[in-house]
Symmetry: C2
Subunit: 376 residues, 2 copies
C-alpha cells in the first residue's frame, strides 16, 4: 500500500487520500491480509509500516519547513525547505525496489501519477487509485503513456475525466462508519464541509443559505492559492450569525456538526470523483443537497437520502422539503455501500483478479528483461 506522504496516516485534520489509504489498510489487515504500508513518519497502522520520509510534507517541523532558500556561507550550501519531489521519489522507489524483488503480490498506489513510471519495472501488478488526478489536464500525457496499467475509479463519474485508461473496477471510498454516530433529531443549520475552493462551491452554499433564510456553518481547509478567493468571496459573508466559518476541523471535530445539521450542502461545479463528506454526513443520518455533477448522483439516492439539483433555485427549494427525507435511510445508504469494509472487499476482488491474470495480461515487454542476460 503506497500512501501519499502529505499527511501521516490516519490524518488528524485534512488528508482525504491518506484517510482512504488508512481505512483500506486497516480493513485489509482485519480481513487477514499481510499489508506493508509505505507512508510518512508519524503514521499509525496495524500493517507493517515502512517510512523513508521522517515527517509528512505538511507537518514538517518548523523552522525547517519554511526555511527560506538561501546560500549559507557557513555550510557552503544552498539551504532551504525540504524538497517534496525528491522525498516522494525516494518514498515511491523504496516500495518499488521491494516490489521488483518479488516481495509483494500487488502494489496499490494512491500516489497521484508519480508511481506509474515504475509499473513496467516491478514483478507484480501496480494498481492505481487516482483520486481525481485526471482532473488536472497536465497529468494526461503521463496517464496516457501508462494507460494499459490497471486503474480503479472512485466512481463511474471519475472515468469521464480521462476515459481511455484501463479501468478495471469502480470501488467507492469507504469510511469508518463507527466513527459517525447516527442522529435522527436535527437542528436548523446547513453545513458546508470541504476545501474552500471555487470548484467546491462554498460561495454557492452561502447564496443558498441566505435565500433559504437558514444558518450556514462552513468548515474546511483554505489553500494558499485560494486565500484571495476566501477573502473576497467568503469572508464578507461571515457575519457570525447567519454564516460562520469553523476553521479546519478534524474528522472527530466535524462529526458533531454533521450529526445535528439539517443538510450538507455539496454544490460543486466540477466533476468531483467522490465526495467523502457526503458519505460522512449520510452516516450521521444527515441528507445532502448536491449538484448533479461528478460522483454525487451515485452517492446520494435522490429523494431518499438527499436531493440532486441542477440550479441554485432548486437547491433553495430543496431546503424546504428536507423533512420528507429519512435520517435512517441516509445511515443505511452509508453503511451498506460506503463502509471501509465494503471498500476493502471491493479492492480484495480487484487484487485477486489482477494477480490471477497477471501472467496473461501483463504488458508484453514487462518481464522479458528478468530472464534476459545483461549484454556482455
Amino acid at each position: 500500500m503506497l500512501a501519499p506522504i502529505s499527511w501521516p496516516l490516519p490524518p488528524t485534520g485534512y488528508g482525504p487520500w491518506e484517510m482512504v489509504a488508512s481505512n483500506l489498510t486497516e480493513e485489509l489487515v482485519a480481513l487477514g491480509h499481510e499489508v506493508t504500508l509505505f507512508a510518512a513518519g508519524g503514521t499509525q497502522s496495524s500493517a507493517t509500516v515502512v517510512t523513508t520520509c521522517p515527517h509528512a510534507l505538511q507537518t514538517w517541523p518548523e523552522p525547517l519547513r519554511s526555511r527560506p532558500r538561501a546560500f549559507d556561507p557557513e555550510t557552503g550550501l544552498m539551504e532551504g525547505p525540504p524538497d517534496p519531489r525528491a522525498l516522494e521519489e525516494l518514498h515511491i522507489a523504496t516500495c518499488m525496489e521491494r516490489a521488483a524483488q518479488g516481495r509483494f503480490d500487488v502494489v496499490h498506489s494512491h500516489l497521484h501519477v508519480h508511481a506509474l513510471v515504475f509499473g513496467r519495472l516491478i514483478s507484480c501488478p501496480l494498481v492505481t487509485t487516482l483520486h481525481g488526478s485526471a482532473w488536472t489536464k497536465s497529468n494526461h500525457p503521463i496517464l496516457r503513456a501508462y494507460r494499459e496499467l490497471p486503474f480503479v475509479s472512485l466512481s463511474n463519474a471519475e472515468r469521464q475525466l480521462l476515459g481511455e485508461l484501463n479501468y478495471v473496477a469502480t470501488v467507492y471510498n469507504g469510511i469508518r462508519i463507527e466513527t459517525f454516530d447516527f442522529e435522527p433529531d436535527k437542528e436548523d443549520y446547513l453545513l458546508f464541509a470541504g476545501r474552500l475552493a471555487p470548484e467546491k462551491g462554498p460561495d454557492v452554499a452561502i447564496e443558498v443559505a441566505r435565500r433559504a433564510g437558514r444558518r450556514l456553518l462552513l468548515a474546511g481547509l483554505i489553500e494558499p492559492q485560494y486565500q484571495e478567493f476566501f477573502d473576497s468571496q467568503i469572508r464578507p459573508h461571515l457575519d457570525g450569525s447567519q454564516c460562520e466559518y469553523l476553521g479546519l476541523l478534524s474528522q472527530q471535530e466535524l462529526a458533531p456538526y454533521y450529526r445535528k445539521a439539517a443538510a450538507l450542502l455539496f454544490l460543486i461545479n466540477w466533476c468531483e470523483p467522490f465526495g467523502l463528506t457526503a458519505v460522512e454526513a449520510q452516516a450521521s443520518g444527515t441528507p445532502v443537497i448536491a449538484t448533479r455533477f461528478g460522483a454525487l448522483p451515485e452517492i446520494i439516492v435522490d429523494g431518499e437520502t438527499g436531493f440532486i439539483v441542477d440550479t441554485t433555485d432548486e437547491a433553495v427549494a430543496a431546503t424546504k422539503k428536507l423533512d420528507t427525507l429519512s435520517p435512517a435511510a441516509c445511515r443505511e445508504n452509508a453503511e451498506s455501500r460506503f463502509s471501509a469494509r465494503v471498500m476493502a472487499r471491493g479492492y480484495e476482488a480487484v487484487y485477486a483478479s489482477l494477480i490471477a491474470t497477471h501472467g496473461i495480461l501483463r504488458h508484453p515487454d514487462r518481464h522479458t528483461p528478468r530472464t534476459r542476460a545483461v549484454r556482455p
Copy 2:
C-alpha cells in the same frame, strides 16, 4: 545518454547541462560508440534520439506554456501549463524501461537527482553527473539513499558539496574548441558571462571594473527569482558607458565578446563545481580572474592563464598585470584539458570500468529479483 529536457540539444542560448550532454554525445558517436540520446523535442544529434517530451520545458510554445491554472467548464478539466515533473518522469522512465530490458551497456544520467531511484531496477550501471546538484541541501536525503551508485564529479572541488557519494572519477566538462576562435590581440574591456545570480558575483565584477577603471560587459540569464537582485544591485550601474548588459547570448553570440576581452571576471562566492565560461574564455585566448573557490583553481593555471584571487583588492590588482599572461597559454590549457574529445575519453574510461566491474560491485540486492519467481 539521459539529457535534461529544459532545453533542446545543443542549446541555442542558456543550457550548460544540455551543452555538456550534447558535446559528449557527439564525441562518443565520433569515437564509434552506439549512443541512444534521450532528450527533448527539437534536439539535433548524430546519435539515435528518443523523445517523449515534444518541446523542451523552457521552449514550450505559447500560449500553452504560460496558460494559467484554471478550471475550464468547457472541458470539465483543470487546465494549465505543462507539468515539468510529470514530463521529466515520463522522459526518465522511457530510458529506464529500455535499460531494464538489457538494451544498454550503461546509462549516463545528467538529470539532476531524479533518475537515481531507477538505479537499482535496471540491468546495467547507472552513472550520474550531478552538475552541482549536491549544492542544494534538500537533495542530500535522496543522494545519500543512493550513495553507492557511481557518480562522476565535474571537478575535485565538487566533491566538497557531499563527500560521501561513490565518486568513481572526476571528468572535466569539455567544450567544442573549434567553435571558439583564438585571438591574441585584446581590447580593453572586462567580461562577465553567466547567470546574473548573487552566487555568480556580477555585483563584485561591477565593483572590480569600477575600481580598475575598466569597461565591463555583462551577458547572461536573469532568472525570475533574481530579478529583484538584478533590479537593485546590477541595473543601477548600467550607465551604458562603463557597464553594459548585453542580454542572454547564445554561445555563438558570446564568442566574439570572449575573443576581444582583456579578461573574464569569475568572482563567484560559492563552490561552483565547474565554470564553462572560464574554459570558453581560455579557448579564445582570454585569461580569467577568478576567486579561489570551487573548481576554478583546477581550471585556471594561476599566473599563466589567469589569476586566482582571495579578495576584491587582489582582483583589482590582477587587472593591472594581465599583460604578463600569454593568450596562447590560455588556448593551450583549454585544448589539452577541456575539449569535448578529452571529456569523451574520460567518460569512455568510466563506462568501461563500470561495465567491467558491474557483476562484482553491483548492489547486493540489485539483481536478485531478475531470477526470482513472483510469489504465488
